[in-house]
């Protein structure tokens, strides 16, 4: 298993404050990593450093050669003053062959939306379109920044289900920031709890028992997660 991105001891300062403090992390092939943590804990900054938007003040980020990254941004408010169709948005700066368009739009279930205007879509539809755009050109790594934050519970469930299916079918690597704890625990393989530094990391079941997780999210949350994990496993056994 080769590493796609390695961050070693990265520190980022902004306005006299340490946003990331000595963070090290490896993203390996076929990983499904979720970064959890309170607001202002540097989650988005970490993703942006890993993708090379910003250079860290200290430490190093190394990427595998020819790494192709697909990105789903955090807040996406489609600009109402710009008239643009979904199809044209997907084709901006990227050339989509009819085959690829067909494959991706079936995969993300957006075939019926292609000729609609981008600014009449619901949150869930918009999210699927962003996911579709991130898949253009067959990326080996998908980076998602709170992809389901504006969706209702049913929407979140559908989105994570879709994401898991794409993860399995395309055999790619996923690195995601999320607040949706219960969803994360069910879908993800590895959790990293970040509050400026890496508080704890590992498999979801293990992390919820970590004392650092309890201090970060509270005892109640940790217990709730443990219960959810149990229930989740249980239903799989049947």
């Amino acid at each position: 298993m080769t590493d796609l991105i390695t961050a070693s001891n990265i520190t980022v300062n902004r306005g006299g404050k340490k946003i990331l403090d000595d963070v090290s992390l490896k993203v390996g092939t076929s990983d499904f990593i979720t970064v959890l943590g309170p607001n202002g804990g540097g989650k988005s900054m970490l993703l942006k450093c890993l993708m090379g938007f910003y250079a860290p003040d200290q430490g190093q980020v190394t990427k595998a050669n020819h790494l192709k990254v697909g990105y789903v941004p955090q807040q996406f408010s489609s600009e109402h003053t710009m008239p643009i169709s979904v199809l044209q948005f997907l084709n901006l700066r990227k050339t989509l062959s009819p085959n690829e368009l067909d494959k991706i739009s079936t995969e993300t279930n957006i075939t019926d939306l292609l000729h609609k205007s981008l600014n009449v879509l619901s949150g869930g539809e918009l999210q699927r379109i962003l996911l579709a755009r991130s898949l253009i050109g067959k990326p080996s790594l998908l980076v998602l920044d709170e992809p389901a934050q504006n969706l209702d519970i049913a929407g979140q469930l559908a989105f994570y289900k879709l994401l898991t299916r794409i993860y399995e079918q395309r055999e790619l690597t996923i690195l995601m920031v999320s607040h949706d704890l219960h969803m994360v625990m069910a879908t993800t393989r590895r959790v990293i709890c970040l509050f400026r530094h890496v508080c704890c990391s590992g498999e979801p079941q293990v992390v919820t028992k970590d004392p650092e997780f309890k201090t970060l999210f509270g005892n109640d949350m940790a217990e709730m997660m443990a219960v959810y994990q149990h229930g989740h496993k249980h239903s799989h056994d049947h």
Partner: protein, 280 residues
């Protein structure tokens, strides 16, 4: 009846400005740069004053002063002490005031009115060259980088993830705006440049289905307004800027019923197609 050369020159100047402002104006509307454009135009008077004082071409001195204005703005924005509109309000009106003071100190006979409201019929040959070269480069740069600029306008992070140099493009847009302001002063005047950038694209928005279509219809609306505005400016001897802007405003109002008709037609067309489509 023979057409006087000054009318042809004015018309040519007005058409070029309308084309440039139509395309640039789309970005002004999409990226909410209207107040920025307005402030830039206000500060242009100081640029003109300095140009007169130093004996430099007005276009050049305006581009240089407005670029400096934009750099100061970006620098102040990064300090995050005041909101952008506060900063713009301070910079714009301070430089407008200093500009007026400088002009009054210079003790030269200057027609301030023509700088504030435009005087399309006195456009000279050198100004036509500035319009062709300056306006042409603005249009060229915008067209060449079109899809990257559109993507960045939709979402900056998404553009950054695709290696679009977002910060550099933001500076580029600001610089292009300074050129547009400089070359439009003679046509619509300092106080009305922002409306030239906003009204045509806003009217076009109602009628368009894509970003390119919006830019093209904005150009068309701009050109029509310039022709109508110039005609009335000549006939009624009114300042060209307000007359062109009044024509733009009239077209903006008309764009509402027109857009309603076109969407209605589209809808009936679609529903007819729906009915005739065989059931599968």
């Amino acid at each position: 009846m023979t057409i006087e050369p000054f009318i042809i020159k004015g018309l040519l100047a007005g058409v070029i400005v309308a084309l440039v402002a139509g395309v640039m104006g789309c970005f002004v509307v999409w990226r909410r740069m209207a107040y920025f454009g307005d402030s830039l135009a206000h500060s242009a008077l100081l640029g003109i004053a300095l140009g007169i004082a130093l004996g430099v071409n007005h276009n050049l001195s305006v581009i240089m002063l407005c670029s400096l204005f934009a750099l100061i703005l970006v620098w102040l924005q990064q300090k995050r002490i005041f909101a952008t509109d506060t900063l713009l309000g301070i910079l714009a009106h301070a430089s407008l005031s200093i500009g007026v003071i400088t002009i009054s100190i210079l003790e030269q006979i200057i027609d301030l009115h023509s700088y504030l409201f435009g005087d399309i019929l006195t456009v000279g040959n050198d100004q036509i060259w500035w319009l062709v070269v300056g306006g042409g480069s603005v249009l060229g740069v915008l067209t060449y980088n079109w899809s990257s600029l559109v993507l960045m306008t939709i979402d900056e992070d998404l553009a950054q993830a695709e290696n679009v140099p977002v910060a550099r493009y933001q500076m580029l847009l600001m610089f292009l705006m300074t050129i547009v302001v400089a070359i439009s002063i003679k046509i619509v005047g300092i106080l009305l440049i922002a409306s030239l950038l906003i009204i045509a694209p806003a009217a076009s928005r109602q009628l368009s289905k894509s970003p390119e279509m919006m830019a093209m219809i904005a150009c068309l609306i701009g050109v029509i307004s310039v022709v109508i505005g110039m005609y009335f400016s000549f006939e009624l001897d009114t300042p060209s800027g307000p007359t062109i802007v009044a024509a733009l405003a009239a077209l903006f109002v008309i764009s509402f019923p027109i857009s309603r008709i076109t969407t209605k037609k589209m809808r009936t067309f679609l529903s007819q197609n729906e009915e005739t489509r065989p059931l599968s």
